[in-house]
Amino acid sequence: MQHKDSTRRQFLGLAGGAAVLGAVPIVTVRPSEATPAELASAIRTITNGAQVRTGKVKLDVPPLVENGNTVPLTVNVASPMAPEDHVRSIHIFNEKNPQPNIGNFHLGPHSGRAQVSTRIRLADSQKIVAIARLSDGSFWSASVDVVVTLAACTDEVI
């Protein structure tokens, strides 16, 4: 029993190590990517410098993605979606794709539920940020770190 256990542990250790080694080249060969500064400036064009608070927004992305070409993503904002208090828009950004924007989604009180889903591309393991603009002018955000094993082919020769 003791022996069997340790073999399994060794195997897992090796597998983990292999995964890390496999990820390194993917990280180093990306030539063009949005920088955190570009991410910040893309967010500023939406918020116009207003304060963005953390909370209310729930960003649902798998933490470990095998294929960066199609990653399911759902954003849900806690809101009554009433005429006096609703989500006006949801904006999704990334840190390391060639471009910081992913999508802007415009809603209204008639939406009933402030939730959108789509499928996105990720060129690298990175941070995804979702920002919601509420009807009172406040901004709320959530961010998730995603590990991508096979990156979307942004610079692949075809």
Binding site: S111, G112, V116
Partner: protein
């Protein structure tokens, strides 16, 4: 040949919050890929999606290259009256497609 898949409930009670699922077949070429000779493959993406419910716009999305091929978008709306949902996708190279679905609200 572009084609759309739309999923809207056929029937709903007045005031129900319904989910609408849409998928448009499109390559969504990012403009960041190269051919073997080093030329950039020009960008060809859908840049805008909108949904109208009996003529009123209820949902709009600006899409970027980071949206996966065959853009799949789901969102919600409140069923207020029987009628028609009209969907419109607009993109590079004059891409423009529409689709519609009807709903009966009781």
């Amino acid at each position: 040949m572009a084609s759309a898949l739309i999923n809207v409930p056929a029937k709903a009670k007045r005031g129900d919050i319904i989910e609408i699922k849409t998928l448009m077949s499109h390559i969504m070429e990012t403009g960041y890929r190269h051919t073997a000779t080093g030329e950039v493959v020009p960008r060809d993406i859908i840049t805008s999606f909108a949904c109208r419910y009996n003529g009123t716009e209820i949902f709009r999305a600006d899409l970027f290259a980071a949206i996966a091929a065959n853009p799949f978008i789901t969102f919600f709306t409140t069923a207020t009256a029987s009628g028609k949902f009209e969907f419109e996708w607009i993109g590079d190279n004059g891409f423009s497609e529409t689709a519609s679905a009807s709903i009966t609200v009781e």
